[in-house]
């Protein structure tokens, strides 16, 4: 198919007078991993649900796989895989039956579903739990089963809404690994996350959302290069320091500074030199740390707020 897999123009979602998505534009190309990064309530899930054809748009244009979700919902959904924010596995069925019936929802013949289900359980490392019911599975296992289920129809686009929220680090890494493999096999990935490390790890390109709008777009590296200095010096002040005065004093050291509740971030292109200068200045710093700039900094600079708020 020529052109983007998914394209939105002035896409809007309203619930009554509340505007959840406020006229956003984006285009997602075949084979790319595209992310919506932003805090809770930014409009990521509403956007995903509109792409997944389970929520009608209130305005603007949206095309998914070249079709219009308002008219061709079932045809589009037949070619999508969806991993929702909250698992909605069928708790009255076993792991195996969950995959079987989901394949049937896509009208696949049983023999073919059996083959795919066995492969997919292997892929997400759940083969030994095939006859288990869903409830006793751990959070990570349920997520993996949800991913296996979303792949039963060999989707061209996989939608993942906060795929690793609530998982422990080990479960996250296993999941990331599987998503890499899918991407390599040519599946277009669209994911939302409020973890910037996840966005940096997985996404070729992403948009940052805040308050129902897109505030920036680009590859993780490009977003950092465009909006932030190369390095950041984190200065942690003592409890009884005169914060306002210290912040004012720190201003001279960086291109830009951000005062957070427990620390001050000084943006600079030469972290070590700045850290040295701050340390020798006699400011009441408890600790001074140099690190690379991240997407978190991009978000902070663009919105004035931290992602984890």
């Amino acid at each position: 198919m020529a052109g983007p897999m998914i394209e939105a123009h002035a896409l809007t979602k309203r619930f009554g007078s509340f505007v959840a998505v406020d006229g956003i534009d984006f285009a997602i190309e075949p084979g790319e991993a595209f992310g919506f990064l932003g805090p809770n309530g930014a409009g990521k899930t509403s956007t995903m649900r509109m792409i997944g054809c389970v929520s009608p748009r209130s305005g603007g244009e949206l095309s998914v796989l070249g079709l219009d979700p308002a008219h061709d919902g079932p045809q589009i959904r037949a070619r999508l895989g969806v991993v929702p924010q909250e698992d909605n596995l069928d708790t009255e069925l076993t792991v195996w039956d969950n995959l079987m019936i989901y394949g049937r929802y896509f009208d696949l013949p049983r023999r073919e579903i059996r083959e795919r289900a066995a492969e997919l359980l292997e892929f997400v490392q759940l083969s030994d739990r095939r006859d288990s019911r869903v409830d006793p599975l751990s959070g990570g296992m349920k997520r993996r089963l949800t991913i296996a289920r979303s792949l039963i129809n060999r989707p061209e686009v996989l939608l993942l809404d906060e795929p690793t929220t609530g998982l422990d680090p080990q479960a996250r890494h296993l999941l990331w690994d599987r998503l890499y493999q899918l991407k390599r096999s040519g599946v277009t990935l669209v994911l939302t996350t409020h973890y910037m490390d996840e966005a940096e790890q997985l996404c070729d390109r992403l948009v940052i959302m805040d308050n129902a709008r897109i505030v920036a777009e680009g590859s993780p590296r490009q977003l950092i290069a465009d909006n932030v200095t190369r390095e950041v010096v984190e200065v942690r002040l003592g409890i009884d320091a005169d914060t306002a005065a210290e912040v004012a004093a720190l201003k001279q050291y960086g291109d830009r500074i951000e005062a957070l509740a427990d620390r001050v971030l000084v943006y600079t292109d030469d972290g070590d030199a700045t850290a040295g200068a701050v340390t020798s200045d006699g400011i009441g710093a408890v600790s001074v740390l140099v690190r690379r700039a991240s997407l978190e900094d991009v978000f902070l600079i663009l919105t004035g707020r931290s992602l984890e708020d």
Partner: protein
């Protein structure tokens, strides 16, 4: 053909709702014993009220046919069983899957639509109800309570009763907020169960109450089944059938729209 299908949307089942029927078969495969309760209940009623109470009551006149009380009450019990069976699946079980296990959120992410979900659950309720009704009709046959060849229409009649109540039950359930609201379902079902000319003839009411009873939904089913089984046919039976059909059609329509509003906001 297409024109007919447009006029009669209830015939336009399509294949997708059947996937939900398959899903329910898979789910019940592990708890098949729950399935059995549907056979037992109307049978117990027939034994207790039909035979036990029937001995005390004696014969009754139905449209000029003098029949034993058991023969009078059995088609009423058939109608009740058809109502109860379809309401169980379309109210309590449907609510559980919609609100608590979020089963339909997963279903609707696949190509199925809210209308497929509504149609699928109603189809399932009807299939289940048909099996129970057929078993009960066989029991009636063995007791000699099927007095007319028109009884062959008693099974489609039971399906129609099931369809009417399934549609209304599904639609009503989409307005429920919690399991507490199911008390309303019981509050509606118990008087229908007792007063729809099920256990005694309509003539026992005074004229005003008779009119009220004639307008209630289960009464339509009771009259339909009793007339077919006893062979007391007349054209008004078509009105009773139309009433039940309308309940089902309107219910299906409302339920489809509401499922869309609730699950695909």
């Amino acid at each position: 053909m297409t024109a007919t299908l447009r006029i009669l949307p209830f015939l336009r089942w399509g294949h997708r709702p059947w996937r939900l029927v398959e899903r329910n078969v898979l789910a019940y495969r592990r708890v098949w014993y729950i399935f059995l309760s549907g056979f037992a209940e109307p049978l117990f009623f027939l034994l207790s009220i039909g035979i036990g109470v029937g001995k005390l009551v004696g014969d009754l006149d139905v449209g000029g046919h003098l029949v034993p009380y058991r023969t009078f009450v059995a088609p009423g019990l058939l109608a009740i069983a058809a109502m109860n069976g379809s309401l169980l699946d379309t109210t309590f079980n449907f609510f559980f899957k919609m609100k608590y296990t979020h089963t339909y959120d997963g279903v609707l992410a696949a190509p199925l639509t809210p209308r497929d979900v509504a149609t699928g659950e109603i189809t399932w309720a009807l299939l289940r109800g048909t099996i129970y009704s057929a078993a009960f009709l066989v029991t009636m046959l063995l007791f000699g309570d099927l007095r007319s060849w028109w009884s062959v229409l008693a099974l489609p009649g039971a399906v129609l009763i099931g369809y009417g109540f399934a549609g209304v039950g599904l639609a009503a359930t989409t307005y429920m907020r919690s399991f507490v609201d199911f008390d309303y379902v019981n509050m509606a079902m118990i008087p229908l169960f007792l007063f729809s000319a099920t256990f005694f003839p309509l003539a026992r009411y005074d004229a005003g109450l008779q009119t009220v009873i004639r307008l209630t939904p289960l009464y339509q089913g009771v009259v339909l089944e009793r007339s077919l089984v006893i062979g007391d046919l007349n054209w008004t039976l078509l009105l009773h059938a139309a009433y039940l059909l309308a309940m089902g059609l309107i219910g299906l329509r409302v339920a489809s729209r509401r499922i869309g509003l609730l699950l695909q906001p």
